[in-house]
C-alpha cells in the first residue's frame, strides 16, 4: 500500500489506456507520454501495460507501507527518497515506511512512477487509467488526494537493478517541432499562418488538451451549413481524432490529447502524428512550438522509427 501524503498538482493512475469506447465518448486516456510509462514499467520488471502514476509538473509525497522497487521516467522531476536524491530512468528500492518526494521540475512536464507489481486499482472497461471528466477508472475516477491509499499488486520477480541507456532517454527542450498531418477541415483556412508561426503553449495544458497562443488564423467566411454554428470556425458537430487540432474562433489552437472530448462543433485543421504525442505530453507552458506538415507516409515512417525505439528499450531492459 502507498499512502498519499501530498497529492502533487495532478497525479493520476494511468496505464496504456482503454480501447474501444471512444464511440460512446469514453476516450483512450492512459499515460500522455506512453514511452516514459513503458520505460518505468520495464525498469521494475512489470508488464508494459501495468498501471503507474502520472505526475504532472509538481510531484506528490508518498509513504510506502511495504518495501518496493520503483522507477521514475519522463520529465526531469528528480525523486527524493527520505530526502535523498535518486536517479531518473533507473530502478531503485524503497524500504517499508520510506517517503518518496520530488524536486522541482527541471525539464519536460510529466514524469511516470512505476512500482513493481503495478498500482492495483480495479480495471474499468479493461483499463486502470483515470478519465477524470467521466469520473471513471483510476483511483475513484479522479486525481489523487491526500490520505488516499493505493493498493500495489504482487511483483512478478525480484527486479534486477536496471537503467535506461542514455541514448534512449528523450531530451526535453523549450523549442519544439511537432509534426502534423494537415486535413479534416483545413480547407476552411484562408492562409498558412498555422504552419508559418511560432506558437507558445499556454498554462491551459492538461490531459484533455493543449492550448497555444499566437496570431489569429484566417478562416473562410461562408454561408454556414445547416446545423453548424454561426462562427466560421463552426462545423456540424463531428468526431475529434486524438491529436486533432481545433481553432475555436480562429484563435488559440488546441491539441486534444488522450482524455479528449470525443466530438464537437469546432473545425479541426490538422492532427499530430502518433509518434509526436509523447513530445506534446512533455511540453510545458511557455514552450515555443512550430507545427511541421508531413503526409500520411511521413507519419507512418515516424511511427516505424518510434516502434524501433520502443523495441530497443525492450531489448535494453530484457
Amino acid at each position: 500500500m502507498i499512502e498519499v501524503i501530498k497529492p502533487g498538482l495532478s497525479t493520476t493512475v494511468q496505464d496504456l489506456g482503454r480501447v474501444g469506447y471512444y464511440d460512446v465518448g469514453i476516450p483512450p486516456s492512459g499515460a500522455l507520454d506512453q514511452f516514459s510509462l513503458t520505460a518505468a514499467n520495464l525498469l521494475v520488471g512489470n508488464d508494459e501495460g501495468a498501471a503507474g502514476l502520472e505526475l504532472a509538473y509538481l510531484g506528490p509525497e508518498l509513504r510506502f507501507g511495504e518495501r518496493a522497487v520503483v522507477a521514475v521516467a519522463g520529465a526531469e522531476l528528480i525523486p527524493r527518497l527520505d530526502g535523498e536524491e535518486r536517479p531518473l530512468w533507473e530502478a531503485f528500492e524503497v524500504a517499508s515506511g520510506s517517503v518518496l518526494s520530488f524536486a522541482h521540475l527541471r525539464g519536460g512536464a510529466r514524469a511516470y512512477l512505476a512500482v513493481a507489481g503495478g498500482i492495483d486499482v480495479p480495471p474499468v472497461l479493461g483499463s486502470r487509467s483515470t478519465y477524470a471528466l467521466g469520473s471513471l477508472g483510476g483511483f475513484s475516477g479522479r486525481p489523487l488526494a491526500a490520505g488516499d491509499e493505493l493498493p500495489v499488486g504482487p511483483a512478478s520477480a525480484a527486479a534486477a537493478p536496471r537503467a535506461v541507456p542514455a541514448e534512449l532517454r528523450p531530451a526535453f527542450g523549450n523549442e519544439l517541432e511537432i509534426r502534423v498531418v494537415m486535413g479534416l477541415y483545413d480547407h476552411l483556412l484562408t492562409d498558412d499562418t498555422f504552419l508559418t508561426s511560432t506558437w507558445t503553449l499556454t498554462p491551459t495544458a492538461d490531459r484533455v488538451g493543449f492550448r497555444y497562443k499566437g496570431p489569429k488564423l484566417g478562416m473562410l467566411e461562408r454561408e454556414q451549413p445547416f446545423g453548424a454554428g454561426s462562427d466560421p470556425s463552426n462545423i456540424v458537430d463531428a468526431p475529434y481524432p486524438i491529436g486533432s487540432i481545433q481553432v475555436p474562433g480562429g484563435v488559440e489552437p488546441i491539441i486534444l490529447h488522450r482524455d479528449a472530448v470525443s466530438g464537437g462543433g469546432y473545425a479541426m485543421i490538422a492532427t499530430v502524428i502518433s509518434a509526436d504525442m509523447d513530445t506534446v505530453a512533455q511540453s510545458a507552458p511557455g514552450a515555443k512550438t512550430r507545427f511541421v506538415a508531413v503526409d500520411l507516409d511521413g507519419a507512418l515512417a515516424a511511427r516505424a522509427d518510434r516502434n524501433r525505439r520502443l523495441q530497443a528499450l525492450r531489448d535494453a531492459l530484457a
Binding site: 464511440d23 465518448g25 468526431p239
Partner: protein, 278 residues
C-alpha cells in the same frame, strides 16, 4: 460523395455531408453498422457522428489504405442508405422542464448569454417564434428525437428532432461557455438537443432536467447508443422527486426504424413508433 481525410496515422475521418440532416445521419449509421459487422483486425473504434464519422485504427495491424478501401466499399454498398432500416429502440426520458437547478445555474451565467434579461427557455421560445415558453416546451416534447451521436463526454447523446427542417428548433450556444452545468440537464445548441451525462462545463441552452441516470462511471456503463430514438415525457416536480428517491431503469422498447416510411409522413410515422411504449 463523402469526403475522406486522415486524422494522422490512427484515424480515418469521413464527412458524409456538410449540413445536418436525418438522411446524412442515417447514411453514417448504415456505414458504421457495415464496418462493425466486418471489424477487421486493427480496427479499434467506429465513431458515428451527426453527418460524419471516424474510424480509429492501429496502422501496425491494419494498413491505412486497406482500411480506406474497405470503408469506401462499405459506403458504395450502402449508397444513399435510403432503403436501410435500423434495429433500434425507443426510450422514454422523463423531463422536469423549467426546473429549479438549471434555473439557478443559468442565473449565475447571465453575463455569458445572448439575452441576459431572459431565461434560456424564454430566449429559445422568442427566437423560434413561440408566444410563450410553454408553447416551446410543447414543441420540444411534441416529436421524438434521434440520437445522432454519443460523445463529447462519456455517454452524452446528441439528439436531432424527427421533424421537417422548417420545424427544427434552433438556438445558438451561449456566447461564452458556462463553467458548470448540472448533471442530467436537457440542453440545446444549434439544431441539437442533448442530455448532459455528467456535471461540467457546457455551452448549450438549458431547458430542464431528467431524474434518471444515463451514465454509471463505476462500471463505465453508458445508456445511450447512436440510433436510439428518444421521447421526452414532461413530469411534475412531485414525479421528479419520486423518481429521484426511487429510481427505475429508463423505459424502452425495440423498434425497426425505416427512413423511407418516416419520410412519407413523419408525424404519422412517429406516432406509430411511439406506440410501442404503451
Amino acid at each position: 460523395m463523402s469526403r475522406y481525410s486522415w486524422g494522422a496515422d490512427e484515424h480515418l475521418f469521413v464527412e458524409v455531408a456538410e449540413e445536418m440532416s436525418l438522411q446524412a445521419n442515417f447514411k453514417v449509421m448504415a456505414i458504421a453498422t457495415g464496418l462493425r459487422e466486418r471489424r477487421p483486425d486493427g480496427l479499434l473504434d467506429v465513431c458515428p457522428a451527426n453527418a460524419s464519422f471516424q474510424v480509429r485504427f492501429d496502422p501496425d495491424r491494419l494498413a491505412p489504405r486497406a482500411l480506406e478501401e474497405l470503408v469506401r466499399g462499405v459506403e458504395k454498398e450502402v449508397g444513399d442508405a435510403h432503403g436501410f432500416s435500423l434495429e433500434t429502440r425507443v426510450v422514454e426520458v422523463p423531463v422536469l422542464y423549467d426546473d429549479p437547478w438549471t434555473n439557478e445555474t443559468l442565473m449565475k451565467f447571465r453575463d455569458r448569454h445572448q439575452e441576459p434579461s431572459l431565461t434560456d427557455l424564454e430566449y429559445a421560445a422568442q427566437i423560434n417564434g413561440f408566444g410563450s415558453k410553454e408553447e416551446f416546451i410543447a414543441a420540444h416534447h411534441g416529436a421524438p428525437w434521434f440520437a445522432s451521436m454519443v460523445g463529447f463526454v462519456a455517454g452524452l447523446p446528441f439528439l436531432y428532432q424527427m421533424v421537417p427542417r422548417a420545424r427544427q428548433l434552433e438556438v445558438p450556444k451561449y456566447v461564452r461557455p458556462r463553467t458548470d452545468t448540472p448533471a442530467l440537464t436537457v440542453g440545446h445548441g444549434g439544431c441539437f438537443g442533448c442530455i448532459y451525462s455528467v456535471r461540467g462545463a457546457g455551452g448549450y441552452q438549458m431547458f430542464g432536467i431528467t431524474p434518471l441516470e444515463i451514465y454509471e462511471p463505476g462500471r463505465g456503463e453508458v445508456f445511450f447508443k447512436a440510433g436510439d430514438i428518444v421521447r421526452f415525457a414532461p413530469i411534475t416536480r412531485a414525479e421528479y422527486d419520486e423518481l429521484r428517491s426511487s429510481p427505475r431503469p429508463l423505459r424502452s422498447a425495440d423498434v425497426t426504424f425505416s427512413l423511407v416510411d418516416f419520410e412519407a409522413d413523419s408525424d404519422a410515422y412517429n406516432a406509430r413508433l411511439l406506440e410501442v411504449l404503451g
